[in-house]
Symmetry: C2
Subunit: 391 residues, 2 copies
DNA sequence: GACCTAAATATAAGATCCAAATAAATTCTC
DNA sequence: GAGAATTTATTTGGATCTTATATTTAGGTC
């Protein structure tokens, strides 16, 4: 009942090739999907390459069926993205927030408002939304819930399900980033490291996203055990961006050599400053880059050796500046293992990886079970009263 | 087409309850399986609890359909197990080998001979074997092959497929141990550590066994990176048994205190001696136990934090003596994580975990697709000549 | 217009399953 | 032992999904 062809206008013949089904069956399914409101027949004859034989009937996704919403509900930033059923962006908005000041209800309200505005930008309303997928920086189990013990996790997974438009599904942010990367370049064994403020990984092994009992797969707490955090007592779960900032701020005074980073006020140094200084040849910054690379290399080794991961993607806001760290990490990968080394690459999605993955995930869910969702203004929605054997 | 009820005699009513299908459907399937030779109807009325109504037809697995063979093809030891379709052991043999002296062909020949003898013990022959599952200490991909680069792996995965009776499937040994443990106590997120000479893990996440691109999931090479092997330069991939032995042998001279282990000739010390000395209160042995526990705790932390594993099972020959190491490791698990700690338990299968898992895996494959395999002396095997439209 | 072609339709048939009616085999009751 | 009650087996019809095989249709080309 799933149809793989949804990108553009398609004919029954193409669907037959893609699904292996017979023409009669394909047309039957298309009929059903037209009835349900998911597809519409294209009557406009423009652009047909004038072939021999009877012209094929052509179908396309019915745009009016609705839109999907992706929401990256980070700790300090919300991003909403409205897209049509082909994944084309119709609107996007970003807004900084202070989650700890807002609390759970405040996060939900801020998300509601941001989505509402983004929908306006896109020229549609809440009733057009078929499915909203939310990414949160917390483990999320298959029911959309986070472990009861974690206060931070409960704040992040703030109970969006009832408040957002359309059906709502909640997912871990790194998992969504992995979905986005998987859509960009399919691979059966990838890890996507979401590495800005916190470290989190979306793990795809044997073509499937790992979740774990409570959604904890991909958490990076294990770094705490091995990295005895020289200098700082904080968690190994800090992302590369956070580490670059913290290390720089902590070391500009004690560092023996000269460093351009001192010119900045200590509290003002951001991760981006460190990367930029390193590009300019600053020795302290280069040292920090080296340590970040070493850290990344260790993570890559664990992922590749324990899970046979073939590609490690660094995603998140810092992915555009992460190049030098990757180069350093590549040099540190052990060369003598029997298995090929994982490729270390930077995401091309930048800060939008999570929200793009959210949209992609929504589209995947809809494609998988279109008949479980009612498109807007379906020609025959929930069945009207039937004459029948209800006596 | 799969049937879940195969343990004992069962009725259509029971199968209906188990599968949710209709009586008519269940009986139809049973008919087909009787035809194919997998089931037989029980006519002996003994043991029927004398109920009201028409007596149910009762079916059971047809023992004569064949047997399965499990083979643990370790580096220094082969174990073969012949079992019937209910998993009951019909014969078992173990034999020590020197793989490096035998080479690939020698390993295959030794396996052939061992299986042949075990089949004799069980009162059957090679033609009775439906499926042989082989566990090897090497990564194995879904095609049964090991990475081309690894010389040791190629020696272990010695090309058994063409030489052993029945259909043959090759699997990683730790993965098979995981299957065996899973059969003992089902759980969706378990790691089974096969830890005698070498470390290897069978990882079950979200109810599925992880494989990885080249079958490398569960390899423990990452330990090399973190454990800088104090004292010994050897690989972190050594199992707990190997480490206990190596550490004891290396330290009996340099150890400052008194230790009963000195009474043994250095080259004669085995892992079992260390565990026994520790039970007797020997300080060096206790120290080694402590270090093994610390190592195990670190592994457990990685598995639980990265994969949200809820249970870590220690399997293999040393599992019976591993208790004190587990106790030590449990005390070292961090207490402050938001997620529950993994349970550390010893396997109850001892040295038979892999071979038991091989048999279990064979039975699972047969249950999943009975009609893909022809049972022996099927009443209607490969279809005989049909009158048909073959003109 | 005759002819060709590829697709759409129509029709029949098989497979799979369920639901309901019918038949069979047994125990229980009188 | 006859008949009721009970439980299961068997049969029948139908719904659904799919394939296979005509047959029709909507365009081209000559």
């Amino acid at each position: 009942m799933r149809f793989a062809l949804q990108e553009q206008v398609f004919t029954a013949g193409e669907a037959m090739a893609a699904t292996g089904l017979t023409r009669a069956t394909v047309l039957g399914v298309c009929d059903g999907l037209v009835d349900a409101g998911w597809l519409e027949e294209v009557v406009d004859g423009a652009g047909v390459p004038a072939s021999k034989g009877r012209p094929a009937r052509r179908y396309q996704l019915r745009e009016a069926a609705g839109v999907v919403v992706g929401l990256d509900a980070g700790e300090s930033c919300l991003t909403a993205l409205v897209a049509d059923l082909r994944g084309r962006q119709l609107g996007k908005r970003r807004r900084n927030i202070d989650s700890h000041a807002l609390g759970r209800a405040g996060r939900v309200a801020a998300a509601q408002e941001l989505i509402s505005r983004t929908l306006s930008d896109a020229g549609c309303g809440a009733s057009d939304v078929l499915l909203t997928v939310v990414g949160v920086p917390a483990p999320v189990d298959s029911a959309g819930l986070s472990p009861a013990g974690g206060e931070f996790w409960q704040l992040m997974n703030a109970g969006f399900a009832k408040a957002l438009p359309g059906a709502v599904s909640i997912e871990n942010d790194a998992n969504l980033a992995a979905v986005a990367e998987q859509a960009q370049e399919p691979s059966a064994n990838v890890a996507t490291l979401l590495s800005g403020e916190r470290f989190g990984a979306g793990l795809i092994v044997d073509g499937r996203l790992l979740r774990g009992r409570q959604g904890g797969a991909g958490e990076m707490r294990f770094l705490d055990v091995f990295e005895s955090s020289p200098g700082l007592g904080d968690g190994g779960s800090d992302g590369l961006g956070a580490l670059a900032r913290k290390w720089a701020r902590a070391e500009i005074q004690s560092y023996a050599g000269t460093t351009s980073l001192r010119e900045l006020s200590g509290d003002a140094i951001q991760a981006e400053d460190v990367f930029q200084a390193a590009r300019g040849g600053d020795p302290l910054a280069a040292d920090i880059i080296g340590r970040l690379g070493a850290r990344l290399a260790r993570i890559a080794v664990v992922l590749s050796s324990l899970l046979d991961i073939e590609r490690v993607v660094i995603a998140g806001g810092i992915s555009s500046a992460i190049g030098p760290v990757l180069e350093h990490a590549r040099r540190l990968l052990p060369a003598d293992t029997g298995l090929p080394l994982p490729a270390l690459v930077a995401s091309t999605l930048g800060a939008d990886a999570v929200v793009q993955g959210a949209v992609e995930s929504a589209l995947i869910q809809i494609r998988r079970e279109p008949l479980a969702i009612f498109p807007k203004a379906a020609r025959s929605g929930p069945r009207t009263v039937q004459e029948g054997p209800a006596a």
